[in-house]
Symmetry: C2
Subunit: 557 residues, 2 copies
């Protein structure tokens, strides 16, 4: 067996507590090589009396590796363990000290899960895996109160630019909650709502105040209450990496320089603040002068931002925070944020904006989830762009399923587009069939799906600012059939727990054909999803039905 391929290192996605009793162990082997894998486990302090061997199950595969998983429920919450592999007639053992062809004599050389402490168990809120999110870019969703229109507001439906305004506001959202109910979503993620100068509001001026062009703090409370009354949870955007240029502490620093009492609230490399050759003399988001990076290591800044996080949960009752540019802020600050937020509401959802592998933030001490862009990209490549076939698609998905603990997979935020990307229909080359398949995949995949406002009625648009168009409300301009498809797929998900569990297994991945199986947590329901992205019809042979049962079609033509 190829020893170089075999990998296990305790913690992360390889050995973790799934709940207060259960430990998951995983290992990887070269793809197609191991016929069987086993865990050899026991209690470190009573090895001889407690040693047992348990077979591992195939969890997923990617291009290079098979991933194996086993679970253990050690009565005294401590586990010593090693691995055994079989490939044909070859046996191989793995301990912390390396490989051997016979079982290591000294069990002390095995790996350890020293003790399962509940404080370290990563438990994202249980509601998340049952949620379907709807993302709203507030300036462009609905104008419900024209008295709030910013100066120069353009007629609804015009072409979006980086700087123009159409008057979307909170009253507009309240007025259209029925649209969300009809669609079947039960959670909203709002792009920033707090006072700022731009239309996207990622340049905060006042973190404690709803932007007056959107409404008031009271109006937001009214909106959140109205959502809750309809069973819809609300997530706000916490832009804590940077403020805006009109944030009073920044104004003061720009004005007084190093003498400002807020001088340490930012990362100033050189006073006075200025931009030289396109590079600000202070740290910013990207090179954007109006977005000065906040010094989240400064005690006053921490207190201020944690107060912000607290205020909107306590005063308005929001159900969580989406953290903007989450990977550029220090881990220490996020740990404090989690402690504050979960202290107020253990069921609050903490969602980080990270586009990359995020294991360092998903260990239970920081976020509940990240925006799952690696899955987004794979889905778009296969379903929307058609640039990869089913095999590499399945490999990427398999890699993602193995990359994180199971609870992370269950709570991950799966989106096919956002205010930062071209719209799904546009990526699909306006092909609604591709869009439907992509959406069906999203809605039958573990994690919480998020629909970007307007996708469900057929809105299109390229990258920012074109993906930020005004929501289409005229009934005759909405794609009714597409809406019905979204609504039906969402209903399907709500009606079948198997589609929300973490169990996911590819049965076929071949050319344009993808067949996968989903099992409910208690194994009582088994669903098979088959999709063909090619123009050619294909025949799918269903796996044998469970004994005494038969297959029933529940979706599709």
């Amino acid at each position: 067996m190829l020893r170089e391929a075999i990998y296990h290192r305790p913690k992360q996605n390889w050995a973790y507590a799934y709940d207060n009793k259960t430990i998951h162990l995983r290992v990887r082997t070269k793809r197609g090589e191991a016929d069987e894998a086993f865990v050899i486990a026991g209690d470190k302090y009573a090895w001889e009396q407690t040693r047992y061997v348990v077979p591992m199950k195939p969890l997923a595969s990617d291009e290079l590796f098979d991933y194996w998983e086993a679970e253990a429920v050690p009565p005294l919450r401590r586990l010593k363990y090693g691995f055994r592999f079989r490939s044909g007639n070859e046996e191989l053992y793995m301990s912390e000290k390396g490989f051997s062809s016979v079982e290591p004599e000294n069990y002390l050389t095995l790996f350890e899960f020293p003790f399962l402490n509940p404080a370290d168990v990563f438990e994202p809120p249980a509601w998340v895996k049952d949620a379907v999110f709807y993302q709203i870019f507030p300036e462009r969703f609905a104008n419900g109160d024209s008295s709030l229109n910013p100066a120069g507001t353009l007629p609804w439906g015009g072409a979006p630019t980086p700087t123009n305004f159409f008057g979307g506001d909170l009253q507009g959202v309240i007025d259209h909650l029925d649209h969300l109910v009809d669609l079947g979503v039960n959670a909203i993620y709002f792009n920033p709502l707090f006072e700022a100068t731009t239309n996207h509001k990622y340049d905060t001026k006042d973190y404690m105040k709803v932007d007056p062009r959107f409404g008031s703090n009271e109006k937001l409370k009214e909106l959140v209450d109205a959502c809750h009354a309809k069973g819809i949870r609300v997530l706000l955007d916490a832009v804590f990496n940077h403020s805006g240029k009109e944030f009073p502490p920044f104004v003061d620093v720009a004005d007084k320089g190093p003498d400002s009492p807020f001088a340490d609230w930012f990362h100033v490399r050189e006073f006075p603040l200025r931009v030289e050759n396109g590079i600000p003399t202070y740290d910013t988001f990207g090179f954007e002068p109006i977005m000065p990076k906040l010094n989240t290591e400064n005690a006053e800044v921490k207190r201020y931002l944690l107060d912000v996080a607290r205020y909107w949960i306590e005063e308005v009752g929001i159900d969580g925070w989406r953290l903007d540019v989450a990977n550029e802020v220090d881990h220490a600050f996020w740990r404090e944020l989690r402690s504050v937020v979960k202290g107020l509401n253990p069921e609050a959802y903490i969602l980080g904006e990270i586009w990359h592998d995020s294991i360092a933030w998903l260990q239970g001490d920081q976020f509940d989830a990240v925006m799952n862009y690696p899955v987004t990209e794979a889905v778009l490549d296969f379903f929307a762009r058609g640039v990869i076939e089913a095999v590499p698609f399945a490999n990427t998905i398999g890699n993602q399923l193995a990359a994180y603990p199971r609870q992370v997979v269950e709570a991950s935020f799966n989106l096919l587009g956002s205010h930062d990307t071209p719209r799904l229909l546009t990526v699909c080359g306006e092909d609604e069939r591709r869009m439907k398949l992509a959406t069906l995949f999203q809605l039958t995949f573990p994690g919480t799906p998020s629909i970007y406002y307007g996708d469900e009625v057929g809105m299109n648009g390229g990258g920012d600012p074109h993906c930020r168009g005004c929501m289409v409300w005229e009934k005759d301009k909405q794609n009714k059939e597409l809406f019905e498809f979204f609504a039906a797929a969402i209903r399907l998900r709500h009606n079948h727990e198997a589609l929300r569990s973490a169990s996911f297994k590819f049965l076929v991945a071949n050319g344009g054909l993808l067949v996968y199986e989903r099992l409910s947590s208690d194994n009582s329901e088994r669903l098979v999803v088959a999709m063909n992205v090619s123009e050619q019809p294909v025949e799918v042979v269903l796996p044998r039905a469970t004994a005494g049962q038969s297959w029933t079609p529940i979706f599709g033509e």
Copy 2:
């Protein structure tokens, strides 16, 4: 190239901040395969203008892999990066999305070090890498005040048993500080000093009180002051995983059961507390009924233990804590402990007792170091037991050097024996020559070496309790020549920064011969250490001396 062998995942030992400016990047390849490795790096927000390529240096090798390292000092503290490998005529590129034979077109698929936040930089105290520790088991070091002798104290020098007493105390340590100064050590790690029933004191009765058989809190303060006056730092043992059976809260729970206000201070599986078939009905260390596991998730327990940690730093001025059974306590508690301890004294050393791979505790948020038993075992196998040859020894050491960030290697606690293991001389089969080589390796290896009391005068003894004998003070029974060797090797380390830096490179590993090179941090000094554990003389060809310089022997015959 063997893609299955190549590994990189951001954070841990693969991509980390070494200081507030410097990022270290590492990757591994199949041993002997890559001729060169490069990092391709730049700023994510200005890739085209900032992209550059830098060669990686070989860091270490083990049986299966070569490890490569490069450092980056990105002016805006953020880094996007990928890897390029060359093996003969083959080129291979690695991004977060996998491998390709040409450079990935889309730089967004590369890895990220999103932002170097100082709060996340792991900085163990600078003094640690310059320290040489001396471990004292207090009951057996010296009896300086016979008025404190416990009832039944035996004459000094008798055979140690699990339960007997010889009257060692703090005055005894004060009386013999000159011995430590003569030896050249500049730090002491004390086994537990607080009131307890056993001779090892790992069953604490009162965490706020020095055991009266050892002295008083005032006496400990006198001892710490005396040490500091001689430039010796003091580390105490924090037994926070479990208390003793006479700890008042446990007495109360044993007495009152679930009605005790301390019922949640422990992990009781079933009341009343009892032992059935050797298994206590409450969690303990191992199966030891007198060591009930503390519930470090209970707010009162946390407050109490953190007060203990604070008290001895504030009141007595200790320089750090060694954490007993550190891996069985929750990570959340250790994070709080670090915050309290470093808040009082940023230079305090936090050392965890973990015998295994400890990367999960060594990320900057928990410990500064762990007791480096994997290196201990390798050194004993090669030098002391003679059961492995130089090649597997070098592989294990190489593996360890690559397994942790550089600052962890610099501050790791390298011991060749402790109160939990047979004494070095005994493991060496009483062969002083082997013992000297092992010690010389320990003292010329990165990290902080720790000498177990008495090893330096030739004490022997098997596992607990035999390794806990009374210190030999009669001059004629001390091995004077061995002591001189220890003292000379310690002086050598103190006099040459090259021996304390993280730079370590094997030049030869063959049979019983080991040759390695050590470089000072500023490259001004270069040392070569050559050791032969075999009975046969070998000839060593020194590497070419640095231009304009020549080799000078500084140690050995």
